[in-house]
Symmetry: D3
């Protein structure tokens, strides 16, 4: 825990300590035909991450010898408390959806060696089946596991040429942190998210480097020391997620 | 079984008899906040059906005293063997999606008394998580169960006024039938679907009335006796589905 | 006529017998430059069917040696009793339009040998100038005639290679049937269509095979014997339409 | 005829004199239910003009006591020599379509007293069934006739209050003129249109006032004296069209 | 001035004589990287014209040996008195925008020899930063200057092959004229524009040929003599603009 | 300056010190009719910020007594080195545009008391006329100045009720920072932006509180100490920008 004395800790609604993650589960191979797939759960938040491996790259990348990894995020209409209209029916993808899709893609590209991947494309579809806060960070954390399975599939099927350098240079995980009732907390569910004064999403590699830091003052500007405490919490949380990702990937994948 | 002698029956790829359904499962309450939700599975086909109950009706129906039930169907991009582009990104809903959404809505409206529902709206979202043939018929069959739970929710919460007439006048289920290698078969998975000469989707009420019959010659026109055999199979299959729906709804729903 | 005793027959608004078609007219060559065109009329319903023949096929079919036939259906804004907004201005094609365009295309592809057509494309545009019920079935029936003229044009101009097998393997026609006031009737005009308990569109080849059967319960589910009676009527009606198509095509086409 | 001596006149492809219109026909009441409708033909150019009369006005005009007249122009995909894609499928209305729709609307509003019309709306749909040059001017000329019938309908049905001032303050007609092979000509068919050095569309009221003058140099800039000659031709042509409109409207309309 | 006696001249709101232009300014090289750019001002109307030169032509023009010049016009949302919604957010370009973009493109193509340009494309973006009437005519007038600089850039950088014939065969300028309070006036600001009975935009080459004449009766049809007076004014105004363009282009362009 | 010893400082391409801003200019009142407008320049980056004040709020906020502030960001097609297609023509707003518009809106809402604003709406349009890096941070910094002028306009014109609490609770400014060639630098122009290993945009209030921190690893993950150095630089830069904003706003605004 960070530098808040134990005596001042306000209990969280779900009984967790300020620096405690929700229960996190990875169900690999949730889809029969995807080259990588995982149902990731952070408490009641459930995101289905599917990695689709295809040979070849977009036109603008042809002949470069380099691969491409991209991501698309979306929410089912009733993943939330009240139903939202479908973006397909509205005929346009909303700003938030775009923003999160781009964030997931950048996060994954930070830990993949596109040269070692060769001219192959991996698309990560992250569809939120149920939303209870932290969907974008759960998506990144789950997408890494699906990506790892898809890369393994590519190697096993000879689509990725054998090389001395690994395709994945590191792992990546993400977590939300925020200040609720004046107290910095880790991994916010929806009830804390709407009450947070400051909300931050942090993406960290398995070896501890920062990939993205996105902090937003929701109610009032935040101070430098608060930012520091939130970063400490995020580092603690992503280190734990890295362990859980490793454990999940250590198990054999049924049917492979 | 219909009038095909046992000696001529070609074994199906998955070992089923021609008039045998795949394993069908209903998981009610799959979503925490939807007024009705069910994950329906027909073998490897998985559709998440969420019923969203809201008070009030669309503008064109206001003051009529009648409710409204509608449906939206969609497939996740990697529910299929190879990834499809998202309709939200293409900016338009495809013809097949529209057609199936309309079919589901009509099927449900055939067994609901919109007067008894009162000025309430129920939207059924049927999202295909994994597709292995028969997604539209699984969606209708599952959507009925989610609708029943949403109606029960409306009654329990006083949103639907108590009346002497029931809101649901019957149940409804649907199944696909087709002619594969010259033999009529029930509930086609993807491998049979692509090989079928004729493909038919039939929607039948719990009391055995036809709601929709949609038959299409995929390779060569079909004869009247083939049509009759397919209808026989469909009646058999939907009667079995009706039983399974009743059994699923007979169990208490956790958290209600 | 089907098995309804004459004594119970309710007279139809326009004086027709239950199994009688409206007056059907085909005006071939209605457009000067289209390779095939016909103004088809079923009573007051008027659909302009234009067949556009172009050499070459869509990219996904190149090199297959096979041709492609597709269709687009649309209604003029004031073809109906009250004006509808244009789909071009709404910026999207509605579900019903999509559904009917797909139905017409499938119906025509059922009777064309795409191998004999060679790598040529024929697009059928079916534009409803005036709608009085049965526009989709009139469109299919007229589109076949325009298609036949376009194929003849292709042969006459050497765009279709001479072969021993014919390009058109059969003819195709379609008709609507329905139950109005408890009585099965053929070829419903608008006033019957809105009053029908059950509405069915049936597409049948010249040799009597079924291509599509689409029956919908509009008010209450229908029974198996009603379905049988409707199919009988549809077979009667399409046989008559097949004769009329043959007669129309037997006449020489001005300017050819 | 204008000041070109007879000896220098180059014969036109269709044998007309430079100041001669093509055969012009108005078929009123072409649609059964529209409040006004006319199939207008200028030679092979055929435009279906439908006037839809509705009580009430758009929101921004409510309470003004004034009516509204607007127009929409479109071409069927195979109205032209080679098929064009549908704007509904492209999902957007093209610039040319927009431009012509706006021109027709302005032309009609120039001769209607919106105060005398009262809070009623008339929408003119001008759909080109076959295009052989001059579709926009044929549309304006035909739309006036349909508008006159719709206004008469409104008066006859009491939707337009009886007043001492007429709703239509004048008539309006339009014609194309251009310079082909150095010679100013009236009412250009497609073959002349593509060869024209200068192309001009002129909209003139029955009493001879100019409503719109739109001249475009297609190949090389034009001189003031050419502009003058073209305007002379246009005045001659629209005067003739005005006579034809009057004759058409003088006949009783069947079914009224 | 035209044939209106001095005694009847109504003073204009800004004190100008009827045949007097507003102050016109051209600021060349307003953008650092565009191959041609000019901020053109007609009084308070300010349009930024940027010419983008790229080697190569659209697919349909490849191999023709000819270049392509096109234009896009748009208004910033708060260029006008009250804010307008962005067309990018509405998801479609409006009719007026389309119409003006096409007008600018046609005007420029009237004075460029696409053969001498070679297979190069020049796109003119005309963005209205502040609108006070006459934005389309200012855009054309400014776009010519930007085009001239882009052509000079192409020649200087060897992208346009040296030839004996010039790429620009003439210059082009445009001005608005109109009848306000019964008096023909030149170069209307917004207050005059909204009050005008007739509004005309005229595009004229440097050598005095007409490229476009677009006159619209805003309130009542106009007479032939009024049209003649407006054309006289437009010729006077464009001749003056031609002089100003020449003077602007005579100065050396900084950084070239 | 931060803790980098002078001896290791690599000179920047434009000669600035690592913690030095480009020349920043605010031209207030750039538009005649906008309630607030400023042309803000950070070196060659030029953004036109227009604040449009309207009475009333969007429907979902009516009756709340609170106002609304929102922003839209866009780039002119030739603001960049090579031309980009218009989003209006593509028919959809891109992800980056959405993301930046949302960021500007959130930044401004952090320093406005919507209760004191009352039921009024202020829309900030930030259009990039020329882009040389840091367009989003220049937009936020300029938008604050335009917002301040629009609020003053609202007070002066009585649209904002006089209150004891100020409408603007603070000022807000933003700057980009990044690591280039291993060295943290402030206010990156385009050439540094494309070369940066890490890129961060920081939004800070006039009193020094953080509103947004958005850091992205462009090439390799960044370390905690690098993040700290970048935040130090951003605090230095925004403090300077705050001074410049105050100075700009201290001058009287012509025409007010």
């Amino acid at each position: 825990m960070t530098n808040t004395s134990a005596s001042t800790i306000v209990p969280r609604a779900d009984g967790r300590a300020p620096d405690e993650l929700r229960e996190v589960r990875f169900t690999r191979g949730w889809l029969d035909s995807a080259e990588g797939s995982v149902l990731v759960e952070f408490g009641a938040t459930r995101v289905l991450c599917a990695a689709s491996f295809t040979q070849g790259v977009p036109r603008w990348r042809k002949g470069s010898g380099q691969g491409w990894v991209t991501a698309e995020y979306a929410m089912l209409p009733r993943s939330t408390n009240t139903r939202s209209d479908r973006e397909s029916i509205k005929g346009r993808v909303g700003g938030r959806t775009h923003e999160i899709s781009r964030l997931i893609g950048r996060s994954l590209r930070a830990i993949i060696d596109v040269g070692a991947l060769g001219e192959n494309t991996i698309v990560l579809d992250c569809d939120v089946l149920q939303a209870d806060g932290g969907t974008r960070t759960a998506a990144i954390t789950g997408a890494y596991v699906a990506l790892a399975d898809a890369v393994a599939w590519g190697v096993a099927h000879g689509a990725i040429a054998a090389r001395t350098t690994p395709v994945l240079t590191d792992s990546v995980a993400a977590v939300s942190v925020g200040i609720v009732d004046g107290q910095p907390v880790l991994d916010l569910p929806y009830v804390e998210d709407v009450a947070a004064e400051t909300d931050m999403n942090v993406v960290v590699t398995g070896s501890g480097g920062f990939v993205e830091v996105q902090g937003t003052a929701e109610r009032k500007p935040f101070e430098r020391h608060e930012l520091d405490e939130l970063l400490d919490l995020a580092v603690t949380g992503t280190a734990k997620l890295t362990e859980l990702q490793r454990a999940a990937l250590a198990a054999p994948l049924a049917g492979r």
